[in-house]
Amino acid sequence: MNTTEQFVILKNMESCSIDKIPIISYSDFYQHIIFLMKDPQFHCVNYFAMPNEEGLFFYCCMADDSTNTIQILSHVLSTDKKKQLLSLTKEVMAFHVYERELAENFGIEFIYNPWDKPLRYATNRFDKTKTIENYPFYKIESDELHEVGVGPIHAGVIEPGHFRFLCNGENVLHLEIQLGYQHRGVEALFLTKSTFHQQNILAESIAGDTTIGHGLAFVSAIEALGNIQSEPRLQLERAIALELERIAIHVGDLSALCVDVAYQFGSAVFGALRTPVINYLQRWCGNRFGKNLIRIGGTHYPLTDELIQSLKLFLDDFEPRFTLMAKRMFDLPSVQVRFENIGGLTPEQTHAIGAVGMAARMNGHGRDIRKSHPFAAFQQEAIDTFSDIKSGDVWARAMVRKKEIEASIIYIRKLILTLSSTNDSSAKPLPEKEIKLTPNSFTISLTEGWRGEICHCALSNTEGKLSLYKVKDPSLHNWMALALSLRDLEISDFPVNNKSYNLSYCGHDL
């Protein structure tokens, strides 16, 4: 930890006393953020506020990829002040989701914000007269245009959300995505649940398809606040689990993409290839999504020699089958014609909206927490990342998945070798009574889930209990990428674009 006059510098999964974070004036805060955002090595990983009697305390976390550090900035809006702040979104578009959330939850007016429309209609929102039924859709008055509304319930077995297409004939002029249907009050529940075990299960349910990504972000945050060391072996096992989750979902996504371009063969084969991955997770911890595997300070399900052997066998069987099927799919002209130049974004667009994960890597932005702010085993053993996919279209998003699966397989094999050189076994999870959070502390925990960067921020109060738990799923940024991808496409291209991003509704709505 390092304090300058303006901010505190933390490493990923490090904590500091809340009192150490200097509170600066909003104009200094504003200037500093604008200054940092001119450097592409910086991006905002979280920006939120916490109310108390004195006022609203804002915390902004700016990740510096070049030095593997995160600057924590803070400003305060005291209760006697007018709830008005100059909008950052006007200068840096990536801030729109944060300011919309702050406006919705606390009734802050961001001056010059282009449009602070509601984000998710949270239960604790400031203005309860705004309801999900009267969402202010963007409209263009014209006799020649028509609107197509889809959802909240969609055709398939997927989560709910509303998509409103403004169309000129077959072409989409504008797609607006309205979410909030999945809001379960997750962040508030973190504070009302009395045990860490309950919170752990809650974290695994933030997005059921990212059980390990969010679970790992949660336990790392608690371990940072509680000064709990986790053994190198445990770190290796956690990284293996995270990469298995990535492989499982990516293969499933490739199957889903095949469905949308009417390639039934590819869909069936990729679908069948997903099964052994999640069945391996079940063999390991009893659950196909890896629930109950990630626990604070240890695990109930250590990776035994027998499990390592079956992991090797699984990879040896999976890899050639996957490689052949992927080659076949990417070589197929009928697939290429539906993937290439469909739903492309420029690198400038992805940068502007603050895209993370696959949605950044489809455009040559190498942004990847595993590399820039390494955690778990990624500190000891680096994973290969790439920035040579640049087209930003459906093809790029499919190709990112293929390359990430290949990289994950290589990486897991490396970790297996490292594992066999450690002869200890992972510890049991720390008993509830032995977990004591440092009072009055702040921590930030970043992981790279299969969708991209996950950020959990936790604050403890003077009694050592959680006083704020803030979750950010990568989808928060990336939904805008889907909306932009649809511009000037035919509406029939929506499904394949949607699948190519496969964003989380519940991760966004919380």
């Binding site: 009050g185 084969v269 070589d331």
Partner: protein, 251 residues
């Protein structure tokens, strides 16, 4: 290249599971729990449970509330043991409450199955799935029910897009305030006779989200539920077997 495709087909082989009722599941899978008569401090077991699924005197586990984290059986292995029996579905909410000494499989209450269900839906059941704040694990497993492995389509069970073409709804998730109206509209759009299936602990009881002010579960108070399918998320085998037990006479 066609050669490649033949090679892939050969590797792919036959993927479908022949008998969904007897297929073993690997690993420390947590299915139906069994509670022994061993004397333990009940209150300690109760305190371990994150979702108040365990109640004392005598010790019982409510599978409608259980998130299958296994903390109880890890701490008291001789008292509570999770078997790999994945056939957990029933139409009787009380049958989800496992008592001390109970070892038999969970059945449906035949008397509670409406007459028309088996005659109308026995060979063809089309369902509208509604994710009402479901976290996408339950949904992923429901999608898996139709994949090449579990292939529930062979029994005429299928998820469709339009509620007008369906015979019932399948709800996942604890039902958020923001989804409550959509659930009602969708249910109303399904023609009679129709069934309601709740999939996953979140749908049956709210699970870990129980008590959140962001939920509105009043829809469930209005109608009888035809099938409860517990799990976090339920295994595809739990879903397919449960539905088959509801719509067909099975051994």
């Amino acid at each position: 290249m066609i050669i490649e495709e033949i090679k892939i087909q050969k590797q792919h082989g036959k993927q479908f599971i022949k008998d969904l009722a007897t297929q073993p599941v690997p690993g420390p899978f947590k299915g139906r729990p069994e509670i022994s008569f061993e004397k333990v401090d009940d209150s300690k077991v109760v305190d371990l449970c994150p979702t108040n699924a365990i109640t004392a005197n005598p010790l019982r586990i409510d599978l409608g509330k259980c998130v299958f984290c296994g903390e109880c059986s890890l701490a008291f292995p001789n008292k509570i043991r999770f078997t790999t029996d994945y056939r957990l579905a029933t139409n009787d909410r009380n049958k989800l409450i496992i008592q001390e000494g109970e070892t038999g499989p969970i059945h449906l209450n035949e008397a509670k199955i409406r007459k028309e269900i088996q005659s109308l839906f026995g060979r063809s059941l089309k369902l509208r799935q509604i994710s009402a704040a479901g976290a996408n694990a339950d949904e992923a497993e429901l999608n898996a029910c139709g994949n090449v492995n579990f292939d529930m389509g062979r029994y005429g069970i299928e998820f469709l897009a339009s509620p007008r073409h369906c015979d019932g709804i399948v709800i996942t998730g604890p039902i958020s305030v923001n989804m409550a109206e959509a659930v009602q509209i969708c249910y109303d759009a399904v023609p009679d006779p129709k069934i309601i299936i709740l999939v996953g602990t979140d749908a049956i009881s709210g699970g870990i989200f129980e008590g959140s002010p962001a939920l509105d579960r009043s829809f469930l108070d209005k109608y009888p539920i035809d099938l409860f399918i517990p799990g976090n998320p339920p295994h595809p085998l739990t879903f397919v077997n449960g539905v088959l037990d509801l719509i067909r006479k099975r051994k």
